[in-house]
């Protein structure tokens, strides 16, 4: 009987051990799966952030190029001032319209607000003789909350048709992203 009891105890212990082994296997598998999923979601969210950042940069470059190419600010073809030339009078006229608060220019302002989005666009005119810089603020729709900025600079020339003077200039475009910094 003692032997029988010992044999039964041994069997039970073995069964418990085996049950424990199975349970441990399941726990370890679940643990590995959880680690795998955490790792996967971290990597994928990282790549999403990278993609978003890339798209913001592309958006800023596109906006800068498009601003420079706008017929509304570009020098006329007949003026023959070369590519990338900004007409001083057109630029100032557009800047005044966009800064205006009158109702007669509202539809035009809304159009450019839609076109440029959340951005700040400035033209820096360089006077190399007097070592001076004049800044013309063309457009400013800086959001109140702190968002990431993507900035682009493009060199151009600035032509005043009345004075007949052409100066070096550059376009400074800051585009505000949709996500917080």
């Amino acid at each position: 009987m003692k032997r029988h009891k010992r044999m039964r105890n041994d069997g039970e212990r073995r069964g418990q051990i085996q049950f424990g082994e199975s349970l441990m296997v399941v726990i370890i598998l679940v643990f590995i799966m959880i680690i795998g999923m955490v790792f996967y979601f971290r990597v994928s969210s990282g790549s999403v952030q990278k993609e978003l950042s890339y798209r913001e940069d592309v958006g800023a470059v596109t906006l800068a190029k498009n601003v420079l190419a706008l017929p509304e600010v570009r020098c006329g073809r007949l003026a023959a001032r070369g590519p990338g030339c900004i007409d001083a009078l057109k630029l100032k006229a557009l800047a005044n319209i966009l800064a205006d608060h009158g109702s007669d220019t509202r539809s035009v302002r809304n159009y450019y607000k839609d076109l440029f989005g959340r951005a700040t666009i400035k033209v820096h005119i360089l006077d190399l003789i007097d070592n001076n810089e004049e800044i013309v603020l063309l457009y400013n729709q800086r959001p109140e909350t702190n968002l990431t900025e993507s900035r682009q600079f493009i060199f151009s020339t600035f032509y005043d048709p009345v004075q007949g003077r052409q100066q070096l200039a550059y376009l400074n475009v800051t585009r505000y992203a949709r996500r917080a910094s």
Binding site: Y40, E51, T62, N66, L68, P71, L89, K90, V108, Y111
Partner: protein, 369 residues
């Protein structure tokens, strides 16, 4: 005593329990393994699906970026290689306004307003692995905005001259132009149009200068559209035939246009709603362009060049004349535009161009545009 009790009984078989245990372990392992595999199968499937969606969205973004960037470089023809897909150029209008985008295949669209401000004139869908783009500045007569035309090498554009003549110089100017060389444009005589052969293109677009689309072979009509152009000076009338049918084709719409760039845009728009929707985007710029031009003109008159040119008084007369012409468009620019474009040479738009050219001859006076 135990021995006596147990005498006659069969000894307990340790193998049966072991067999049961083995079976249980086997079943357990099988179920566990299946669950494990199922989990990873679902995971991989969702990853693949997400990846495909991501690729398609990335492709849509890439095409939209190409188009937006190309709009910034006028008179440039570009060929872009892309994965073979069906690229749909959508421009539609609802109660809230225009929405315009590129859809790749049947995928969902991330941004339905991606191309709201870029006039893109293209067939409804462009299938293939290449995209041809060309941008033109629409000058009417002052520069208003950039128009973009898009297609690939699967469309044949047949430029048909006026009836009763050899291929004339006017339609030939389209074919000779370097920037259009990439598109499949072919001059053709109207006298032989009825025998035009099918050369295996997916689509045919017949551009008839003062011609009749009835002459287009019936065999080609299910994959063809036509545009009849009646040109005078810089403007004219466009008659669209979106469906040719088998009998006498009936016109879809007859629209007035001004400017060579707008004519080119009509050639590449294979249907009327798409042309009108994208033309509307170009007209949106008209208000702003007019206002800027008017203010610029005022500044030129007020600021006066220093030193004052000898012909300043003559220039001032021309500026005042131009101001009057620009004022005529204010308030109803698109309506006046259409009327002006439909008028005979000497109407307000050609008159404005003439004033600017006279200023060009003055040399020292700033131009209007």
């Amino acid at each position: 005593m135990t021995r006596a009790r147990n005498a006659g009984r069969e000894p307990r078989s340790p193998t049966r329990r072991a067999q049961l245990q083995i079976s249980f372990h086997f079943i357990f392992a099988l179920i566990g393994g299946l669950l494990f595999l199922l989990f990873f199968f679902i995971l991989i499937r969702s990853v693949v699906h997400t990846s495909e969606e991501g690729d398609t969205r990335g492709l849509s973004f890439k095409v939209e970026s190409i188009i937006r960037t190309a709009a910034a470089t006028p008179d440039t023809f570009t060929v872009t290689s892309l994965p073979t897909r069906d690229y749909r150029f959508v421009c539609e209008k609802d109660a809230e306004g225009v929405f315009s985008y590129v859809q790749v295949g049947q995928a969902d669209v991330a941004d339905q307003h991606a191309l709201d401000h870029v006039p893109v004139f293209a067939p409804r869908s462009v299938e293939g692995d290449e995209l041809f783009t060309l941008t033109r500045t629409w000058e009417a007569p002052f520069p208003i905005g950039s128009l973009m035309v898009v297609d690939n090498n699967r469309t044949r554009y047949v430029i048909v001259d006026s009836a009763g003549a050899l291929v004339q110089e006017e339609p030939q100017s389209f074919i000779k132009e370097q920037n259009l060389a990439g598109f499949n444009m072919q001059p053709f005589s109207s006298a032989m149009l009825a025998s035009y052969p099918d050369t295996g293109f997916d689509r045919y677009r017949f551009i008839l200068f003062n011609g009749n689309p009835s002459a287009i072979p019936v065999a080609l009509r299910d994959k063809s559209t036509a545009l009849v152009v009646q040109r005078h000076d810089k403007g004219g009338t466009l008659t669209f035939y979106d469906e040719l049918g088998t009998g006498i084709p009936s016109a879809t719409a007859s629209i007035v246009y001004y400017g060579d760039a707008m004519l080119l845009a009509a050639i590449f728009s294979h249907d009327t709603p798409s042309f009108l929707c994208n033309r509307g985007k170009a007209y949106e710029r008209l208000d702003g362009a007019l206002l800027i031009l008017q203010r610029r003109l005022t500044d030129i008159k007020n600021q006066k060049p220093n030193p004052l040119p000898a012909e300043w008084n003559d220039c001032l007369k021309l500026y005042n004349s131009a101001a009057g012409l620009l004022q005529a468009f204010k308030g109803d620019p698109t309506g006046s535009f259409a009327t002006a474009a439909a008028s005979t040479p000497g109407g307000p738009l050609p008159a404005l161009e003439q004033v600017n050219r006279r200023l060009l001859n003055k040399q020292d006076c700033p131009l209007i545009y």
